[in-house]
């Protein structure tokens, strides 16, 4: 297009006319689309803001539900709302706050500020972020909207079966809406996790080594990794649950060998890390705010890394502390009690790192710091009560009472909402170019702080005085009327504080001037942003040699603004950012980032339709939507990924030439596949956990070998899948070696073998007459076989996709990203096949 500017010698960045022209090009390339096409935007500055706004919308909705709950409980024996409405209100309150606010707000804020923080133009997969966002909106509206039709889930946010699985206890669509709506949103979370892990590891600016990464990025890395291992078990649980509800497969029905406790395990393997998944990103905001207002680098950088990583691990060993009263052996409870106490150590470290940083700095006080202090005061209470309920005997009393309600709100409001409020005040200039009012901020803070403590401190008492949670009303003789009245009044004061913030954000600004650049005098890269910000993010992608470049690197802002660093121009009119190495931030590639597209929205709508139609058992529409979703995703990938560039490399500035196309472990696509498949394999292991769980609790599970799926057909499947696996790897190697004909033959053969393998795997249980509704054993065999068979079919499609790409010349021996990723996918499927066949066919022979 603009041939003349693709010169080899560097442009003169000191020439203002050159810079103007560059800026015009950058502005045009990164501009959000106009008019109705605006909604096709995928840039992080757009999607991140939409994401944040919608999450806050859901928070306000769930907050209103909480106020209804508090109004009902204000006095004993109240009947302001009906018990059936009350049940829906508290269920949807918890569900919405957790799934539609706490987790999404992390993703939303990370999508906005992570690229800024890393001096990147955008995250590597903006369309994936947009897809996640649209999934979130559709699923969220579906779940929350159900209450207006009196069809909302009503059994508490952890949905314990058999209450929820049996139609006679819970008629209607409530549980299905919960399961399918949230499964859909979990997909969005996994998409965000992939995006954020790759973003943190591969999109850092040149020179930003691991030891220079902003702490926020460390937290994002840890939290995204946790999402990857925490959400899949819930997806596995959802699958079992929904198969029981729709097809009567008895996973949780004890009369046919199932066990309701299995759901509790799968739910809480997700549910407890979840608490830290929402807590750590909020603390990450504190880790950015505290150094700014202490006017010094964080003291104890490694200690924060210790705390984040340590919490990330140990938080996976706490799940049974929600199940102390289920009658498990004491020794098992002991292990979880130990981990629950151990996890308090890294949390304590974090708090004292902040205190030590303040102690050793010259503190400037401000509204964000006010919220940080409030957070600390409340969070420490939540932490201390957490240490209490981690002790098994105490929890036997406190469990499922208002004591726990108080505890969890101290953690979640003190540890998450207050830091988020601090973050809103701190980062608002980044989004809108202006500071929020510090007068309104202080009013909001005090309303929130006083209201919050009035609402939740008395609940500790109510709980131990005998008030169980989730009661529609309570008797006057319980003696907790006064405590509840105070709680209710406090809740409304707290809500008033939230409204002040909402007003502060939305109030008309008139001619109020923009804030000065870097208004808080912070040290990290996100404050390079101009007031108001440009869509391109940073003017040029800087070389970073410090943890706080704005404080420590001389003449830094000017160098960035004058385009003296990398990618100061968009001479080919393409969106570009730099990919670097994991350890040292060595530049590896100039990545062409995709621009606006409606495909993510279309794909999300069809994917959403699959889940929504399935909720109402409209099977024909479900299958049609499934096909359309698959087609839209293939079209999206076909047109938007692995595009062969017009030249092999380009000059990104300062004489550095970077390739425009990479494949294999150097490419972000390979990493995305790797990370996605880690999550996918975790979900698979969740299903396998179900099998071995029943193996543990039933002496006759699996039954004698002749009852199972047989050995013959699973072995045939194993052989065919092995062929497919080998051909995928062989196709990659032969294609790379330039033997395109052979590679195409292998892809075709692999696609066929994979289909055959899938068929053989399902044929086994079919021919041996395993009826899944009869008993939990056949149901478990079927669900694992179906999972692996579906992965075989998807793998077959992928090989066919590669073949087609090769035939039309979109994949060549040099440009072979597609087959690299598909071969990687097949390694994971290979693992799943080994586990599946070993478990289903060979394990029964041993017992």
């Amino acid at each position: 297009m603009i041939e003349g500017t693709t010169q080899t010698e560097a442009p003169d960045q000191e020439d203002e006319a050159v810079r103007r022209a560059q800026e015009d090009r950058l502005r045009e390339v990164w501009a959000a689309p106009k008019g109705w096409r605006y909604w096709s935007a995928v840039n992080n500055t757009e999607v991140g803001v939409w994401y944040t706004a919608v999450s806050f919308g859901f928070m306000l909705f769930a907050g209103v539900l909480a106020l209804i709950v508090r109004a009902q409980l204000a006095v004993p024996e109240n009947d302001l709302v009906s018990p059936t409405f009350y049940d829906q209100a508290f269920t949807l309150h918890g569900t919405t706050m957790m799934f539609l606010f706490a987790v999404p707000i992390f993703e939303a804020v990370a999508i906005i500020i992570l690229p800024q923080l890393l001096g990147a133009r955008d995250l590597p997969f903006p369309r994936l972020s947009a897809f996640g966002f649209w999934c979130f909106v559709i699923g969220g509206v579906f779940v929350t909207g159900s209450i207006f039709f009196d069809q909302a889930p009503s059994s508490g946010w952890f949905m314990y079966p058999p209450l929820t699985t049996e139609e006679r206890y819970t008629p209607g669509y409530g549980p299905d809406i919960w399961l399918l709506g949230l499964s859909f949103i979990e997909i969005a979370s996994l998409a965000a996790a992939v995006e954020l892990i790759v973003g943190t590891l591969k999109c850092r600016p040149p020179g930003m080594r691991l030891n220079l990464m902003p702490l926020y990025a460390w937290y994002v890395l840890v939290v995204a990794g946790m999402i990857l291992f925490a959400f899949p078990p819930l997806i596995a649980g959802d699958i079992l649950f929904e198969f029981e509800r729709m097809f009567d497969w008895p996973f949780f029905d004890p009369s046919r060998g199932g066990d309701p406790i299995l759901w509790q395990h799968l739910f809480w393997i997700f549910g407890h890390p979840e608490v830290y998944i929402v807590f750590l990103p909020a603390i990450a905001l504190v880790a950015m705010i505290v150094p700014t207002f202490a006017q010094r680098p964080i003291l104890g950088y490694s200690w924060i890394v210790l705390a984040a990583v340590g919490t990330g691990f140990i938080s996976f060993g706490l799940w049974v502390h929600h199940m102390y009263a289920t009658g498990l052996p004491s020794i098992s409870l002991g292990f979880f009690s130990a981990a629950s106490e151990a996890v308090a150590i890294p949390t304590g470290v974090q708090i004292f790192v902040f205190i030590a940083t303040l102690l050793t700095g010259r503190v400037i006080y401000s509204v964000p710091m006010l919220f940080v202090s409030g957070s600390l005061a409340n969070l420490v209470i939540g932490g201390l009560t957490g240490v209490m309920v981690a002790l098994v005997p105490f929890d036997w009393q406190a469990h499922d009472t208002y004591f726990v309600v108080a505890h969890l709100h101290y953690v979640l409001i003190g540890g998450v909402l207050f830091p988020i409020a601090a973050g809103v005040y701190y980062y608002w200039p980044l989004v809108a170019g202006r500071k929020l009012s510090s007068r309104l901020g202080r009013i909001a803070f005090w309303l929130m702080f006083v209201g919050f403590n009035a609402a939740f401190l008395p609940m500790h008492y109510s709980g131990l005085a005998g008030m169980p949670r989730r009661v529609w009303t309570y008797s006057e003789s319980l003696g907790v009327g006064t405590a509840n009245l105070i709680s209710s009044v406090g809740a409304f004061i707290f809500a008033a504080g939230i409204l002040v913030i909402v007003w502060d954000v939305l109030r008309p600004r008139g001619k109020e001037p923009y804030a000065k650049r870097n208004p808080w005098n912070a040290g990290t890269l996100e404050w390079l942003v101009e007031m108001p910000g440009e869509d391109w993010g940073v003017r040029s992608i800087p070389i970073v040699t410090s943890r706080y470049p704005l404080w420590e690197q001389p003449n830094f802002i000017d160098d960035v603004d004058k385009g003296r660093f990398y990618l100061p121009d968009a001479e080919e009119m393409k969106r570009e950012t730099i990919i670097t190495s994991v350890l040292d931030g060595t530049p590896l590639q100039c990545l062409r980032v995709p621009g606006p597209s409606f495909m993510p929205m279309v794909a999300a709508i069809f994917t959403g339709a699959v889940f929504i139609f399935a909720t109402f058992h409209w099977w024909a529409s479900t299958i049609a939507a499934m096909v359309l979703a698959a087609i839209s995703i293939i079209v999206w990938l076909w047109r938007g990924t692995a595009i062969i560039p017009e030249k092999p490399e380009k000059n990104v500035g300062r004489g550095l030439h970077l390739p425009l196309y990479t494949s294999g472990p150097h490419s972000v696509g390979w990493w995305a596949m790797f990370i996605t498949m880690m999550g996918d394999t975790t979900a698979f292991l969740g299903l396998v956990f179900g099998y071995y769980y029943f193996f543990t609790i039933h002496a006759d599970f699996p039954p004698p070998a002749n009852v199972g799926p047989g050995v013959l057909w699973p072995s045939v499947a194993f052989g065919l899948f092995a062929v497919a696996w080998a051909t995928a790897l062989g196709a990659r190697l032969t294609n790379q070696a330039g033997r395109i004909g052979l590679a195409r033959g292998l892809m075709a053969a692999g696609a066929v073998a994979a289909l055959g393998g899938s068929a053989a795997l399902l044929w086994g249980p079919y021919t041996t007459g395993l009826r899944p509704a009869a008993h939990v054993y056949p149901a478990t065999v079927w669900v694992i076989a179906i999972w692996t068979a579906l992965h075989g079919v998807a793998g077959s499609l992928m090989l066919a996709y590669c073949l087609a790409r090769s035939l039309v010349g979109r994949m060549t021996p040099k440009h072979d990203m597609d087959i690299w990723n598909v071969a990687l996918y097949w390694h994971f499927v290979g693992f799943a096949v080994i586990v599946t066949v070993g478990t289903l066919a060979y394990l029964p022979l041993l017992t």
């Binding site: 150590i345 708090i351 981690a390 105490f394 499922d400 005085a465």
Partner: protein, 329 residues
Amino acid sequence: MRARLAALAGTVAVAGCEGAQSAFDPAGLEAERVLLLFWIMLGGGVAIWIAVIAVSVYAAQAKTKVYSDRTGVLVIIWCGCVFPTVVLAALLWWGLAMMPDLRRPADGPTIAVSGERFWWRVAYAVEGGPGVIRNLPRGGVPSSNEIWIPLGKRTEILLSSPDVIHSFWVPPLAGKMDAVPGRVNRLVLEPTETGVYHGACAEYCGTAHAYMGLRVFVVPEDEFEAYVAAQARPAAVDDGRGAQSFLENGCAACHTVRGTPADGDVGPDLTHVASRSTIGAGLLPTTIENFAEFIRSTDHVKPGVEMPSFGMLPEEEIVAIAEWLETLE
């Protein structure tokens, strides 16, 4: 019996207002030890909270003195690592060491309790036996919503459920234990004082979850024996107009009154319903008016209840049934 109940009713009246369902007024071994644990943790927690907040308020003000990094690192190491590790280790050990004694085997009676939507089925004098069992033992002396246990003995409660998960919680005596379909959990109660203690279902089990109360009567051992023997006898009065109406209007499909043809097994056994202090699972005191009200508008008195309302019956039949029930001591 009646005099005994009147005496107890006095206790209920006093205890009913405060403490009857409170973990702050313990009357059982487990509840006492846990409350002590709580007070100590609360004291420690308050001290820690004040210390942390004091340090952070001091640190966060615009102070004249700026401390050295070395001091800061020492704060992290001692306050953030060493102190929590030591305190948590001690607390963990204490918490764990409490448990074997609390779960010591019973030396008293075994009582089967089944959590059902939305009441408690009770059976005295059942065979427990050690080891893992998946279904509650059958038989025994049936009752509901009220459990009598002897003072000075460790009574084993076998817990399960035929429908959904419930949780058995009598805070003055002990912590809670879930009643899970397909499993039998064991909870041992060791009361330390006679009296009447209130309990509730602590696991959400459906619309009427809030109305699934129970009462535990802690009595001397001989009284316990006499009570169980009395409960084992058939109903005192087995005919008359009320009994007739009861049988004719289908009540017998769900309720048993031993000594009459009524042998339904869905709802509570009513053989000695008038000897119990409440009806509707801890909801209303046992009076003729309340019996009548419960029969007349069941779902209004106890929203979400499984029993249908019998408001379509003529008023005099309702009253007759209520009067008959009141005689079933």
